[in-house]
Subunit: 492 residues, 2 copies
């Protein structure tokens, strides 16, 4: 894999000159074509042996291309607020818009490379990390973000020669970082780690290119050529995602809206007794010191007028306003449309000790977007797996995730629609769109049942709550939330 | 100020019922009218005596109004990453879009109230904090964000009765926070602190309303009425901002583009010697441990083709990609247009140990927006003061701010435009817009000279660099940056 790069090939300035002129013109053209089409973002991952000129490459790309449309995404080790989130959070959050280019430095390969460079890499962790990387890149590729990965490489001798040369002049010595000095000793291990990471994550839709880095001209021209090819390439669709049985064990049998029992009722007296009781229990829980370490995500879906808002308010009543954010999800904004559809949900993930309450959610992809044909069949079919992966990553980071479907019958919905129309301050909740959606009742029911079937996993099941009786639904949800938290905090 | 509220007025459920129905309908109507007009955001600041039902008010507003268009902005004490920024940073960052409503909890009044509640408030700090608050609210009011502030108040006896009552039932005891218990003892001091803060910051464009909070119905109805009035009100323009001589001492004489000397030149040999020397010096500085505490903002302005990009790259060459972000400023996005024009710059402020390099900046308001008439005369006239305040806040937070104007002559620009057109990979830099701007040379010169006159302060002066000779300009800028940093880090 590294034979050519370790032969330290060179390119004379005379050879490189005309190549560079040609490349820069072509790169700019390709960059502008991308910007105009706006159908795909490009992420360039910069990795490789320390002291191989990775930093200089960032400068070069900003000079060769139009820097106004390039984002350098350089990541320090994770900050405190980043450590409390899933580890891919910061990469998700910073995805460039379609048409734009991002140069990623300190990428999602860092943990994988660190593990691979250990004396005895832990196989299980290696596989888990490389799998997470592959899932991430596959989701990106399928959602309008092209990824190309460059590995800067040179021979052990050339690396140490380069480092020594820089050190010999006080005006260039600063270019040598402490890591660069350690390479000589650890070279074989770092090389093998790179080779392993590359072989575990090289995919047609997210390929690696090894860049010979000993000679500046060779490094620059090779970099430019690889990026030009990437910019010009038609997007390669990834293979079908890894089957979901692989990542998440589905609940069997899955819940269903068919033959649901809507009879549960709670009398007024009972409600007045139970509601404050469970709110109090929730309130004490979220004020418990253990809770400060726990991020919580609550997802509310359900038919129109199922009572999501009222149920959410019964929960937030027990919370400190500083602890939660209620996030209403409606049609995506222009900014959101230029990113993968999961992007906006990643942005709203809670820090430890905080609760994000989604009033509708990423499940819109397989519900309204499917029924109204905003997403293609390929897109929403694929989304089940993408969602399962997303939720697995949340769970893996220690986030408590609860998904509720508030279910009402078709007759009950009609009654509520009419009651809303009659109320001066509830009529705003009922629009022609609600009536249109109602006509699609069966299509939504089918989409919902499919959603249960493919995304109700053992680790993250759907809680279907009969909501024809609001008091019953509110208390039932509160109880589930409390029990899940007690369980997560080890307090039950 | 608090007589009425401390008489703990009540409203029976019978009286409140019809009022509530009417209010909710009117609130929703007013909210939707706002959403449609999209010319103004509304920020509702919730403050007052602890244990007066502020948290319950947030719940109520989310129920009475359409929660999908309300953002609850509840702030914990500042996090580590927030502490490294100007203290208003987090409030700026979270401003809602025009048309939307934000409920602010843990607002920018916290430090002022804390100071005012000390046994012996420090007069200087009190005045500085209240001045910062007034400047902030005035800038908001003038840029499409209406602010209304509610102070929840009740008598000492009613506060402690309410707290005791909640405590007596285990299901409501959690509603009492540790702060609420301390109020009884400190009541007079907290009341006086509130009265002082209110009298220092009550403005027609950002008024305070005192809400009687002892009785739930009275609290709810009063809250709704105040917010309804605010939603319905035509925006009140603030008075002329406090004159700038007040906030920042202007440089005298201010720099000017007239009669500028463009003769400075640097020979090739000298450049090849000086450039790495100063880059090395900069590189060592930003790797110094003291630098980790310092945020840096570099602003680059100048005529088209003055060489901003090339100069910036000579600086970034000495930096670690993780340390800096180069931020190219072009026309604002849809998202940015719905916020005050300074919003997007606040978002990009650096953390300590980081450098934000603005390639064009907030000065666009008084340059391109003035000349091209994108801003009204009132808007750009006002901007001088808003910018001075913004930069004062940056300096006050310990940020190093350097502003460079790269100046070229009209003849030199013509030569560069032509050379760019002839270069295959530079022609992208030259567009019809550049030629159009060039026709407005005199108008831009006038705008630039005015900008120097009104924003070159002693604390944050403009550095005008003759840039007809690129090597000279690059080294001159590098030297200024290095010297300013050495000075800030106390290393010179």
């Amino acid at each position: 894999m590294f034979e050519l790069a370790e032969s330290d090939p060179e390119l004379s300035k005379e050879e490189a000159g005309p190549l560079e002129d040609e490349l820069r013109t072509a790169l700019l053209k390709a960059q502008y074509a991308r910007l105009q089409q706006k159908n795909c973002a490009l992420l360039i991952v910069i990795a490789g042996i320390d002291g191989a000129g990775k930093g200089a490459t960032v400068c070069m790309l900003n000079e060769w291309m139009d820097a106004r449309h390039i984002h350098t995404l350089a990541f320090d080790p994770p900050s405190a607020s980043e450590q409390g989130r899933p580890w891919l959070w910061r990469y998700w959050k910073n995805l460039p818009a379609k048409g734009k280019t991002g140069i990623v430095f300190g990428s999602w390969y860092r943990p994988l490379l660190q593990e691979a460079a250990r004396k005895k890499p832990r196989q299980k962790r290696l596989l888990a990390l490389s799998r997470a990387v592959r899932e991430f890149e596959s989701t990106l590729a399928q959602n309008g973000v092209q990824v190309v990965k460059l590995w800067y490489h040179l021979s052990r001798q050339a690396q140490s020669d380069r480092t020594e040369k820089l050190l010999s002049d006080p005006d260039t010595a600063w270019q040598v970082r402490p890591e660069d000095l350690k390479v000589k000793k650890k070279f074989p291990r770092l090389r093998d780690a790179g080779a392993l990471a590359i072989s575990l994550t090289h995919e047609a839709h997210a390929p690696w290119a090894v860049i010979p880095a000993a000679d500046t001209q060779m490094r620059e021209i090779s970099t430019g050529q690889v990026i030009l090819a990437a910019l010009r390439k038609r997007r390669i669709a990834p293979r079908q995602p890894i089957s979901q049985a692989d990542t998440a064990t589905l609940e069997s049998p899955a819940p269903s809206l068919d033959n649901l029992d809507y009879s549960a009722r709670l009398g007024e007296d009972e409600y007045d007794k139970l509601l404050p009781e469970w709110q109090g229990r929730l309130a004490r829980l979220v004020r418990h010191k253990k809770f400060a370490q726990t991020p919580v995500v609550l997802v509310f879906e359900g038919q129109d007028a199922a009572g999501k808002g009222g149920t959410i308010r019964r929960i937030t009543h027990a919370l400190d306003p500083r602890q939660f954010r209620a996030i209403p999800i409606s049609a995506p904004s222009t900014e959101e449309l230029t990113r993968p559809y999961l992007w906006r949900f990643w942005r709203d993930l809670p820090a430890p000790g905080h609760i994000s309450i989604f009033d509708r959610s990423w499940y819109g992809r397989v519900l309204v977007e499917r029924v109204e044909k905003y997403a293609t069949e390929t897109e929403w079919q694929r989304a089940y797996e993408e969602i399962n992966q997303f939720e697995s990553q949340l769970l893996a980071s220690g986030t408590v995730v609860l998904k509720f479907w508030l279910a009402i019958s078709k007759e009950e919905q009609l009654e509520r629609f009419r009651a809303r129309e009659d109320s001066p301050f509830k009529s705003f909740k009922i629009t022609p769109e609600d009536w249109r959606n109602r006509k699609q009742w069966d299509a939504y029911t089918k989409a919902t049942n499919d959603m249960f079937k493919y995304t109700s996993t053992q680790a993250c099941p759907w809680h279907v709550v009969s909501a024809n009786d609001k008091p019953h639904a509110r208390v039932a949800v509160l109880q589930q939330v409390v029990k899940a938290l007690e369980n997560a905090l080890d307090l039950d």
